[in-house]
Assembly symmetry: C2
Homo-oligomer: 303 residues x 2
């Protein structure tokens, strides 16, 4: 069993790296630098999106798309759009008026490498481009699919999803949340986008409602496990492995489930969510093996 | 002739006011405040979008839609989406790291009435919601139309349109532009969105290519005339009429066509553009009368 688990993780790690590489190529293609002085904006947009990250969200888009035989190019365009949206949220989150971070993945943040005004425009432009890419007929021949991708990504990224979660996060600095409040915040702030990634394959593949719901359930449990694992790394990880400062949440007084449940309690919850996530994949049988491995990756990763 | 012109302007003014009112109702409907602490975000989004402005862009969407018998509700949803995008650009433009404005239309700007982090999220959320509204099937029964609306609005609002123009505007503070550079900046920064508004009716109404191009040409000339008129107001307007500080461009050293061509030269250019804009409306005959009146409004307005 240990051998098969290890080889499963090898298979997953290889797939993750390959999808990251392909996503990078797609992003570079979708972000050509124009002539003229606005080139600076596009260079900053490339700086914010290229050359880094595990590309876990693109992996989920591509792996869920593979369940339905969706073309790799279509999946990669949606993956790139998700990554643009994710990158925009990081650029704006890092701004001095938000989290005020100078570094991300060991590199100066966009407002440090360029300037604050450029960082605002980079985020705005990436968000806009994400929707342009989804609505383009190169993404899918059926306009109904394109419109649904736009609508579901906008819901995941908007005030009832990601930006609403960021608002809750800002407010939580002043009024501490209870367990239910933290769960809700995280589901909106990071969970909604992960759910979208898992659903994206079903939308692109015009899946039946039961299969859609299976992927939504998977994405929800996975996203939650992902966030708990992230909080655990902040408490238990070593900075040289995690690749960023640890202990940030505690010193910022942030309410996390780890603070509420303790390290062991949080680990048990993550384990339970991981099992639940895999249970949702039943209907896909062996075809969903990569998505099962992704669950193990999420709760055992060290960075 | 003077009498008919005056009554034409009365007709236009009444239509503009009515569309502004209906747009307001639609915006309020599309921005319900949810339960929970994220209510603050939605209150700030409402603050940024409701209760003000001539709503000239919504007027263009509704008037161009009327040429093709598009339902008023569909046109108003697109009008509201455009207004969300316009409002987001103002909220981010007003930020301390951008134009650093404390007031807009006599009210504190969003980052003053709330705070900077909220203002960033308000802009992000309005931009996202604009695309969600366009992609929703309530906007149009044909998903091809919805996808095209998303794609064309994203192009108008992104790095090759509005945000690219804002980047040029930031850079122009350091390296002065020539006439061609100013024209390009303005076409991207404000022209692209006005063009979208005029095209929107043709997209909603599935117009033939020649009629689409007629509206694109109209929008381009109108948008340019609009910007020159705005610059003229900054130089020649009285603050109590214009409703904001005047002389800002000159004191900020901004390159405008008025600075380059002089007041009389700029007026002559605006007049020429206005006539060109109306010429494009030929194919629509008498049905485009409101859009013709809009041209006169743009170049004769005092605020």
């Amino acid at each position: 069993m240990i051998v098969s688990f290890a080889s499963g993780q090898d298979e997953f790690t290889a797939a993750l790296a390959e999808i990251a590489r392909e996503t990078e190529v797609m992003l570079a293609r979708l972000l050509p630098v124009p002539e003229g002085p606005e080139a600076r904006l596009f260079e900053a947009m490339r700086y914010a999106t290229l050359g880094g990250g595990k590309r876990f969200r693109p992996f989920l888009v591509v792996a869920s798309s593979a369940l339905f035989g969706v073309s790799r190019q279509a999946a990669l365009r949606v993956a790139a759009a998700v990554e643009m949206l994710h990158a925009y949220s990081l650029v704006h989150d890092d701004l001095p008026c938000m989290d005020d971070d100078d570094f991300r993945r060991g590199q100066p943040t966009v407002h440090k490498a360029f300037d604050e005004a450029t960082a605002v425009l980079v985020g705005d432009s990436l968000l806009t481009l994400a929707f342009e890419v989804l609505a383009d007929e190169q993404t899918h021949g059926d306009p109904k699919v394109r419109a649904e991708l736009v609508q579901t990504l906008a819901r995941a990224g908007g005030g009832r999803g990601m930006t609403g979660g960021q608002m809750l996060d800002l407010l939580a600095a002043h009024q501490p949340l209870d367990e239910q409040g933290v769960t809700r915040l995280q589901r909106m702030k990071t969970g909604a986008l992960i759910e979208f990634c898992c659903l994206a394959g079903a939308v692109l593949g015009k899946a039946s409602p039961p299969l859609r719901h299976a992927l939504i359930g998977y994405g929800r449990d996975l996203g939650f496990a992902f966030q708990i694992a992230d909080d655990l790394l902040d408490v238990t990880g070593r900075p040289e492995e995690v690749g960023k400062k640890t202990g940030k949440d505690g010193s910022a007084g942030k309410a996390t489930l780890v603070a509420m449940l303790g390290v062991e309690g949080a680990r048990a919850t993550a384990r339970r969510l991981a099992d639940q996530a895999k249970d949702h994949l039943g209907p896909f049988e062996a075809r969903a093996e990569l998505l099962r491995q992704a669950v193990e990756f999420v709760i055992t990763r060290r960075n």
